[in-house]
């Protein structure tokens, strides 16, 4: 039961090509991994992870379509409507040595988590211009991976992760990003017997667990997730394969 409230954008920061962070004040108390529904009246409503918790909260938004494009046109002083926080966030155990893997805008979701754990961070993107939060987490010396090698490791985040996992000891992997990346990391975790928690994205209509549009193998990403645990991922055979379009029809995950 979370009703709309209007919040004012206080600061905006360009994080990368097509990615901006919007800071605003709101007195909800989200956990890392939780999300909100953002409504831009007359335009669209869409889910967005919290990328900064605390008093001055943040959304870090990649420009994708109608809603996110209009969001990118906003300026400080403009308003957005939000409801939330929703969903199940990460379960964090500070004692465990963690490997955090963020692909593309998936880093947005991981931001608040990284502030609470100890371990290594991989920031990945297709190319240098799309890396986000490299400055925010520069004190952690994050590993960088780009598909085209324009910065850091040349190759997929999964490849870098496999290398690190082979060289170092981790208790758990936390991941968010493109679904193929997540699928690769889940396989890796089972293979190497490491714990894992991943945050998934699906098309969302309601955000409150009743419309079934975000469901994957009977789990609702909006309420049962977006963060899923290893036991649940075991039999999630739609991961990286099937999702639902706006009509509810099955689609292939790119």
């Amino acid at each position: 039961m979370k009703m709309y409230r209007v919040v004012e954008i206080e600061r905006i920061r360009q994080e990368a090509r097509n990615v901006k962070t919007f800071r605003f004040a709101d007195d909800s108390s989200p956990l890392p991994g939780q999300f909100y529904m953002i409504w831009i009246p007359g335009v669209d409503e869409f889910p967005m992870s919290i990328s900064y918790t605390g008093a001055l909260k943040g959304f870090t938004v990649k420009k994708i379509g109608r809603g996110t494009s209009r969001m990118h046109d906003l300026e400080p002083g403009d308003k957005i409507w939000i409801r939330g926080p929703y969903g199940r966030g990460f379960h964090i155990d500070k004692r465990r040595k963690s490997l955090v893997v963020g692909g593309g805008s998936g880093m947005a979701t991981l931001g608040p988590l990284i502030e609470e754990i100890k371990g290594d961070v991989i920031i990945a993107a297709r190319t240098k211009e799309e890396l986000i939060f490299t400055e925010r987490f520069s004190h952690l010396n994050p590993w960088i991976a780009t598909d085209d090698g324009s910065a850091g490791f040349k190759g997929y985040a999964t490849d870098l992760a496999r290398k690190l996992v082979e060289e170092r000891e981790y208790d758990i992997i936390y991941a968010c990003g493109p679904e193929q990346m997540i699928k690769g990391l889940v396989d890796l975790a089972f293979e190497r017997d490491i714990d894992i928690q991943v945050s998934l994205e699906r098309l969302m209509k309601c955000g409150i667990g009743i419309c079934d549009s975000c469901s994957i193998n009977g789990y609702r990403v909006c309420v049962d997730g977006p963060v899923f645990f290893k036991e649940e991922l075991k039999n999630m055979d739609e991961l990286g394969k099937v999702r639902r379009g706006w009509s509810g029809k099955r689609e292939v995950v790119r």
Partner: protein, 301 residues
């Protein structure tokens, strides 16, 4: 104690998942059955794939009163729905295929398809309050209702349920015109609107939507009470059921079973299990052997 039979179909409890809530995907329906539902009604499916309305399609009313929604009959189309039905049937509980169409022919075609897919019954959605040319626009015309029911009945052998709208003053008349059906389902959502004062516009992209949840329960109970004494077919109650006592209210008003939707949002996906327990506890305490004893006891005779 909770077993009921409707049109010869046995339900291990009278708590059926309502159409449109978590019943687009066969896996989700299976999960809900495993969490206690006695039966499953699918999302309303039409002839063609339909995107429905853009977001926002849902609004959460304050104080747990319920929801306002205008999904807009989004659905993958009947041809893509076979797989979901098969998965749902795996659950072992009866599956009722909900369908919506623009005329007799569409309804009959869809019903036939559903029958082929193996559903235990079909539910005709004559009552969605927010889609142009469908649902309620059809469901307030007694003649049209009568001829749709007749056409469908003539084309399939499985039981046919007709789901009616409360958005009319002649609900009894419409119920009678649908009496050819094997059961009547009351009620669909109540037409409403919420305006966001700061945005100065309706919240839902469609403007209008349908109210569900506790705020419509007295309307649903009233409709079941009014109709069940006037028709000879079983009535299934829907609207705002959230607790065991709510189920009893509908049963005492005259319903043989109930459908439950918005309560999943209010009490979680295991709400069927919770309600089942509340019902059992009440029946035990009141020394009732079978819930069927209570059907219609609040009717004045």
């Amino acid at each position: 104690m909770l077993y009921v039979e409707i049109n010869g179909i046995g339900f291990h409890n009278p708590l059926i998942l309502a159409s449109g809530i978590l019943d687009e995907s066969g896996d989700t329906m299976k999960r809900i059955a495993s969490l206690g539902a006695g039966g499953l009604v699918t999302k309303s499916v039409g002839i063609k794939e339909r995107q429905g309305y853009p977001n926002p399609v849902i609004y959460e009313l304050p104080n747990g009163m319920g929801l306002l929604n205008a999904i807009g009959l989004a659905n993958p189309g009947i041809d893509s729905f076979e797989e979901e039905i098969h998965l749902a049937l795996d659950s072992g509980v009866p599956v009722i295929g909900s369908i919506f169409g623009a005329d007799e022919e569409e309804f009959a075609y869809l019903a036939k398809k559903m029958e082929e897919y193996g559903v235990n019954a079909v539910e005709l959605n004559l009552s969605c309050p927010h889609a142009k040319g469908y649902g309620m626009e059809i469901g307030v015309d007694p003649d049209l209702v009568e001829s749709i029911v007749k056409e469908v009945k003539g084309r399939v052998n499985i039981p046919v349920w007709a789901k009616l709208t409360p958005n009319t003053h002649r609900i009894v008349e419409i119920a009678k015109s649908a009496e050819n059906a094997d059961a009547l389902v009351l009620i669909n959502t109540v037409k409403g609107m919420v305006i966001d004062v700061d945005a100065r516009m309706p919240v839902l992209s469609n403007g209008f939507g349908g109210l569900s949840g506790p705020c419509i329960k007295p309307i649903g109970v009233r409709a079941v009470y009014e109709v069940s004494s006037e028709v000879d077919v079983p009535v299934i109650g829907v609207g705002g059921i959230t607790t065991g006592k709510d189920v009893l209210e509908y049963i005492m008003a005259g319903a043989m079973a109930v459908e439950i939707g918005t309560a999943i949002y209010l009490r979680g996906i295991d709400v069927f299990r919770k309600i089942e327990k509340e019902l059992k506890d009440w029946l035990l305490k009141n020394e009732i052997k079978s819930i069927t004893e209570l059907v219609g006891v609040a009717q004045r005779r």
